[in-house]
């Protein structure tokens, strides 16, 4: 009986569906985790799309220049940090509107990567093929039937996502640093009155968020394709932002919500092959978003001081 199920086509396709879910969810999860950092510190991060794009580009560039994909990932993370520093600078120091600054960041990233693409590879559409980062089977665990196949034969980026989720959760909810950061997002004046350097925390959180988003972008280029394609993030940054809200600004929550979006995507792709009308099927991920954000599941609560400017010595929020 069991044998029959394990060998059936339906079972095989279900496995493919789940594996597909994890692949679609990984970049969303990493970028959404980045949003958690930045937004917990009170900085709206609409620049996720651009941060991912820059990560995708510099990941490939690093791999191209050094021949080592992991050095590419390192360069991606650095580039995301640098760009996020720019976002922090204009929003925190020069008090730019967070949303406008985020959109500007996206435009800057698209322009920058498109120009460099032509300058380096002489092609408007794609980079050269580079050394990528391929799925890794975890010894022993990957041999477990079903579970092993789904969870332990994945891209290293997926394992990274899970590790970062655990670390982030611990950081946010079990350390002094995390408590302070969360408090800054709620009421920076109160934290400031305790003599804690609010802006330093904010800078660190935004930069860390940028690095995570860039890691998500590097997954797309190095983990999936081993090349960079123009504007290849294709709106995932915005979906990641939705995943962040749905995940209630919580590191574990965003991974779960990213999995939900990934699943909706995987279902969409599979239903298309069964001849369901495309327009209807392609709606699914977005309908899921609307229903969930519409409060169907539960109420989400944003950090209270999200998007607001703060100066040392301010007494109100």
């Amino acid at each position: 009986m069991l044998e029959q199920i394990l060998n059936s086509e339906a079972f095989f396709l279900t496995m493919a569906l789940l594996a597909s879910t994890l692949r679609m969810a990984t970049p969303l999860g990493l970028a959404a985790m980045g949003a958690v950092y930045s937004e917990r510190a009170g900085v709206v991060n609409l620049g996720l799309e651009g941060l991912m794009l820059v990560g995708a580009f510099f990941g490939v560039l690093g791999s191209y220049l050094t021949g080592n994909a992991w050095l590419g990932v390192l360069l991606a993370v650095i580039s995301g940090g640098v760009l996020a520093f720019l976002l922090a600078l204009v929003t925190l120091r020069y008090k730019a509107n967070h949303v406008v600054a985020g959109v500007a960041l996206n435009l800057l990233s698209l322009g920058l990567t498109s120009v460099l693409l032509v300058a380096i590879w002489g092609n408007r559409g794609k980079s050269a093929d580079v050394e990528g980062i391929y799925p890794v089977n975890i010894p022993f665990l990957s041999d477990i039937p079903v579970l092993g196949e789904i969870f332990f034969r994945q891209s290293p980026f997926f394992y990274l996502l899970i590790i970062l989720m655990v670390i982030s959760w611990f950081l946010f909810y079990r350390t002094k640093w995390g408590l302070r950061l969360r408090a800054i997002g709620e009421n920076p004046a109160a934290v400031d009155s305790l003599g804690i350097p609010v802006n330093t925390y904010k800078y660190i959180a935004v930069i860390a968020g940028g690095m995570l988003a860039a890691l998500g972008g590097a997954y797309l280029s190095l983990g999936e394709l081993s090349l960079f394609g123009r504007n290849m993030v294709s709106g995932r940054g915005y979906i990641a932002l939705a995943a962040n809200i749905l995940g209630n600004w919580n590191p574990v929550g965003v991974v779960l919500s990213s999995l939900l979006f990934g699943f909706a995507n995987a279902v969409e792709m599979n239903l298309q092959l069964y001849g369901w009308p495309t327009q209807f099927v392609q709606m699914i991920p977005y309908v899921v978003t609307i229903f969930v954000l519409g409060g169907l599941v539960r109420k989400v609560e944003a950090p209270k001081a999200l998007g607001e400017h703060f100066d040392r010595g301010d007494t109100h929020v």
């Binding site: 597909s20 394609g229 504007n231 092959l273 392609q282």
Partner: protein
Amino acid sequence: MFNKKLLLILLVVSLVAVGALAQLKVGVVFATGGLGDRSFNDSGFEGVKKAEKELGIAFDYVEPQSVAEFESHQRAFAQSGKYDLIICFGFDQADAMKKVSAEYPKQKFVIIDSNEVTADNVAAISFKNHEKTFLVGALASMLTVDTKDFKQMNSPAKIGVVGGMDIPLINSLVAGYAAGAKYINPKADVYIAYVGAWNDPAKAKELALNMYNRGADIVYQAAGGSGLGVFKAAKQVNKYAIGTDTNQNYIEPNNILFSAVRRMDNVIFDQIEAAVKGQWKGGIYNLGLKEKAVDFTVEQSNLKISKAMIDKVEALRAKIIAGEIVVPEKLEDVDAFLKTVKR
């Protein structure tokens, strides 16, 4: 007195005409992708350069950065009065051209990829892309059972196509592909899926993997920049893919069998040649295999297709050119086509 004046005018006009005959001048307004795109603009530019070499024409060109610039570039060329022919690339130049061509009714214009501009001084050119994909679909359908030459083929006629978006332009490609595959083998399975974006190779790869997982041997990409993901999927599972629009065989020469191409170079050259010979005429042109405006190519692929197969496809090409096969342009017409067509 009057006669003298008329004579003078005639003389001047004929001098100008002779001068124009000596060297025809062409103005080119490229699409926003610009030169270096290894696609649309570059292949059209080939045609212009060929005309320069073989017909001795002169040309100037501009590369607009945005749709908003089209109108001013078109007008600048027309206003100068120096250009015999102004060639504009891309359907999004149509709105600007409607205006400018009406302002300069004596100026000859060519617009590529649009059938919207109807004016005597405009040649509006679109492509019968479904004719080339018919050949490609037929060849793919034949190859899936050719397990002798292609070790990776595993199933009877299961192929797929990943489209960019569910829009009429892409659907005509898909319809031709499905019709070609089923013309060869009515039992052929054709998986169809759309990315919903032109710049999402990761999703296109996932869609193609899905098809390969279900037993498809060959997947055709008609998804612009997203299509790169289809090639990556083919490489990953060691299966086959088909390129689109320009020759993409070089991208993964061990996995891409052939590419369905648009011969922009031929089309542009023909337009310029007609102008040089004084045979140029405005109107709506829908060009296909017969005009050599669309085709497929196996060049630069490392995969060798037997001559017998190619011969079969060439026979189909002859039938389409002769009008014996009329390739359906819409997916919903494919079934009716299969019922009525003679094999």
